[in-house]
Structures are given as structure tokens and as C-alpha cells.
């Protein structure tokens, strides 16, 4: 019984903790962030089974975790509000070639990261994008502007 409760508590704790630190942390980890996050299983592993190294304890822990993951995903699908609570929602970082400073500051996304994504998409300038979104999985997606809109935006920027 104790193991089921331990796993459920740690699952809940990690769900809240990871939600609090934000989705950006999982999109692009620096080596230091990666190493730091890898410490989490190291720290919680002992608390999960509490010195019980039997196979029974391991199976109870794993099945409890699998059921919790399934339950969370089923609830998030069935109730979108719950899904938004556990996974968050996408954030708009740029619109019509203009960076949205507030959103970028909130999500801790730097202009350099947007520039990097632009290059990955084979684009050169910010004016070529219609929207830049930080998705719930931490990745950044770019929606290109239509060609004529990009030209207008570029011309507008070049005007004195």
C-alpha cells in the first residue's frame, strides 16, 4: 500500500513542479539543465520504494505509474480544462513579423532562439513569419507569412 501512495505522491509532485518551471525547459535544454533534470530520478528513486528492492515492489511501482500516466492523459483528453491545467497552452511569441516581448519574457524565450528557429525553417527575416508559437511540448513552431504580406512587412520596416 505504501508504495502505491509514494508513487502517486511523487507523480503529483513532479506534475506540479514541472508545470511550474514551464514548458520552455523541455524544448531546448542546455547541457547544465539536462544534467540537473537527470538528477530528479536519482533523488526520487530512493523515496519511491523505500529500501524495498523486491520485484513485487518494482512491479507495484511501475503499474501504479503507468495507470497514473494513462489516467492523466485520458482526463486531459476528455476535459480540455484539465489538459490546459496539466500541460499548459501554446504561447504566441511573434505576430506578423513582430516579437511579442511580454510573452517572450514570460516564457524565457530569447530573440536568438527565434532567429535559430527561423534558420531551421529556411527563413532569413522575422518579416517572413506570420506567427511564432511556443507549443506545449516546449518546441517553437513558425507559421510563414504569405509572400505578399512578407514583402509589405519588409517594406514597412525599411521605410524611414
Amino acid at each position: 500500500m505504501e508504495i502505491v501512495l509514494r508513487v502517486a505522491l511523487i507523480y503529483l509532485f513532479l506534475m506540479v513542479g514541472l508545470r511550474v518551471i514551464g514548458k520552455r525547459e523541455f524544448g531546448q535544454l542546455t547541457p547544465f539543465e539536462l544534467v540537473t533534470l537527470l538528477l530528479i530520478p536519482e533523488i526520487v528513486s530512493k523515496a519511491l520504494t523505500g529500501q524495498d528492492y523486491s520485484m513485487t515492489a518494482a512491479f507495484i511501482g511501475v503499474t501504479t505509474l503507468l495507470l497514473l500516466v494513462f489516467a492523466t492523459s485520458a482526463l486531459a483528453f476528455r476535459f480540455p480544462a484539465f489538459g490546459r491545467m496539466t500541460e499548459g497552452r501554446p504561447a504566441l511569441l511573434a505576430r506578423d513579423g513582430q516579437l511579442i516581448g511580454d510573452a517572450m519574457n514570460r516564457e524565457r524565450v530569447s530573440p536568438e532562439e527565434i532567429r535559430l528557429e527561423l534558420h531551421k525553417y529556411g527563413m532569413e527575416e522575422l518579416s517572413q513569419i506570420r506567427w511564432a508559437m511556443l507549443e506545449v511540448d516546449g518546441s517553437i513552431t513558425l507559421v510563414p507569412a504569405r509572400r505578399e504580406e512578407a514583402t509589405i512587412q519588409r517594406n514597412r520596416k525599411e521605410l524611414p
Partner: protein, 171 residues
């Protein structure tokens, strides 16, 4: 505010229309989830936890109470408690506890209080009338499966009690 309103207000990309959301499972998934739920359920009901049982045997002169594990997980440590009480009006001498083959099947003996006098034998000082003494045997579950066993308590007054022990060691 739903996602569509929010997207409109932020002038973000349009959202896709929602569906009537229901959680539908494949029949095999239902079976799989049910099977997965068995272990946590048994654990929540306490059916996979350690269980102790108490056996009591008595003669006109000696009463013995043994508390031992009947269910335990492998690698876990526990202890067996053997309490002997002199029921007669005379001091009871030559009382000892005997473990078969110096150990119990399926377990490793990690600790004995008081210590052994001979291999597999724990001798006790004379028991005064009404006096009780306790022997504690530290055990570590080692071998998976059913392990029927027994422990003997003997006294110089002719008492010879054999108490059956039956332990199940979970994987």
C-alpha cells in the same frame, strides 16, 4: 475563455474545431488496464504487505507464543519473536529454543537476541514461576516461495513443543 476566443483576441493562429470528446478504448486495452490495475489494487488492500501470525502452544508448565512472518517480500528484513512463560509454581530450567538446521527455510538469520549457545540453539537462564522471556530472531527473506518449517522449544521438565511456521516469500 476558450482557445478559439483566446486565439482571436491575441490574433494568433486559428484553432481547429473541437469534437465530442469521449475516452474510447480498444478491447485489448481494457484487458491490459484491468491486468495492470490488479497489482496496485492488491497493494492498496494490503495483500502484498508483510503479514505476521501468532501461534500459541502450552503445556502445564510452559506457555510459548511465537510471532512470525507468514508473508513477506524477498530481500526484506523482519524478526520472529518467541516468548516463553513459566506456568508452574517451580523454577523451570534447561529451557532452550532450537532452530532446524541453524536457520529457517527461505530466510537468513541476521540476528539473535540473546545469542546462540550452540549451533541453532538458544539457551535461556532458569525461568522463575510466572516469569516470561523473549527471544528475537532477525530474519531476511531470501528464497521466493512457500516455506513450511518449525521451531522447537524444550525444557528440562520434559516440555518439547514444536511450533509449525509457514511463510510465503513474495518475489
Amino acid at each position: 475563455m476558450d482557445d478559439a476566443e483566446r486565439a482571436k483576441q491575441e490574433d494568433g493562429p486559428p484553432t481547429v474545431p473541437d469534437i465530442d470528446r469521449r475516452v474510447h478504448l480498444y478491447p485489448l486495452q481494457v484487458v491490459g488496464l484491468t491486468v495492470l490495475a490488479v497489482l496496485p489494487l492488491l497493494a492498496l488492500l494490503g495483500l502484498l504487505d508483510q503479514k505476521l501470525a501468532v501461534e500459541v502452544r502450552a503445556t502445564p508448565t510452559l506457555e510459548v507464543q511465537v510471532e512470525h512472518p507468514t508473508r513477506i517480500r524477498t530481500t526484506r528484513e523482519t524478526s520472529m519473536r518467541v516468548e516463553m512463560r513459566n506456568r508452574s509454581g517451580e523454577p523451570l530450567e534447561g529451557v532452550y529454543v532450537r532452530l532446524p538446521d541453524d536457520r529457517l527455510r527461505g530466510f537468513a538469520v541476521t540476528r539473535l537476541v540473546p545469542g546462540v549457545s550452540a549451533v541453532g540453539r538458544i539457551d535461556l537462564p532458569p525461568l522463575e514461576p510466572g516469569e516470561a522471556r523473549v527471544v528475537r530472531i532477525g530474519l531476511k527473506a531470501e528464497r521466493i516461495g512457500w516455506h513450511p518449517d518449525s521451531i522447537r522449544i524444550v525444557s528440562a521438565a520434559g516440555d518439547d513443543l514444536s511450533i509449525p511456521l509457514r511463510s510465503f516469500i513474495l518475489p
